[in-house]
Symmetry: C2
Subunit: 164 residues, 2 copies
């Protein structure tokens, strides 16, 4: 079992440069910054889904299992049932909402770059929640063309003061 | 402008009962617990996307604009660029990841029940980020049948102690 390691300053430029590498390597016109797995876990163990501690632990472990770097987390136990929570990772986020009374959990596994595979987290959670009926939809996020990606290689002009 | 109001104990049973009402009213076999808008905001103002304060404020305002009840929030500023953050609402969550150097933000607007319309939050954020090229995909989450929904009307047996 992994120990949760929280990294305060993570770096997203690696995601842009790995996307650019991917684009060059495969000679593509466009590349996606991220991949988003939207998982539906039905027929889960309701007592796991109603435990803030279990849900939080499994979500953190799922992030680590798929190779992500954890930045922040927040979880909330609803009265009388259900847990909502998010683990923010350097590579985007993992989110969960549970309906223990229905044995159902909606889980989002959004990762960027090539380091993490959200499907590893999907398989891990499916097992931990004892889901007997699970499915997922996968979407590409941030379809960026070559020209736009190259923009990121130029220095970014940051406004010191910003008024709106 | 709304003041952010944080409610500690929110109640998800209203979501289940409003889904059941919807199912009865429309005489459907299945109903979705939630709706999930996955928004892609391109050609945004990079200085807004690189401001933790602005991004956090607009995400909270977006939640309130669409009628959601805020439960928790967590935001993180990356070094050197980019903000990731989540607003957990009683009705699910709003999440964002920004790439200021690309003028791009990936935003998730996941709401449950019939009280909130995630597309209101989409239009609000599109305007606030000055996005000149935006699109979204909408997915239904938690497709539940009549029989399973009715399960939720029965008392849920909560295990006091849970061992795994």
């Amino acid at each position: 079992m992994h120990e949760a390691s929280f990294e305060k300053e993570a770096h997203e430029l690696t995601i842009v440069s790995s996307s650019l590498d991917e684009l060059e390597k495969q000679n593509l016109d466009r590349v996606n910054l991220g991949q988003h797995v939207l998982a539906e876990f039905f027929e889960c163990d309701p007592n796991i889904l109603n435990s803030n501690d279990k849900v939080e632990k499994y979500m953190i472990d799922a992030a680590l299992e798929c190779g992500a770097t954890i930045v922040q987390k927040c979880f909330h136990m609803f009265n009388p049932y259900g847990v909502s929570g998010v683990v923010i990772i350097s590579e985007s986020h993992l989110a969960i909402h549970t309906w223990p009374e229905l044995g159902y959990a909606a889980v989002d596994l959004f990762t960027c770059g090539t380091k993490c595979d959200p499907k590893v987290a999907y398989e891990f959670l499916k097992k931990k929640f004892n889901s007997k009926k699970a499915s997922f939809t996968e979407l590409k996020r941030g379809m960026i063309d070559r020209e736009t990606l190259k923009l990121a290689e130029q220095p970014f002009e940051v406004a010191e003061q910003f008024e709106n």
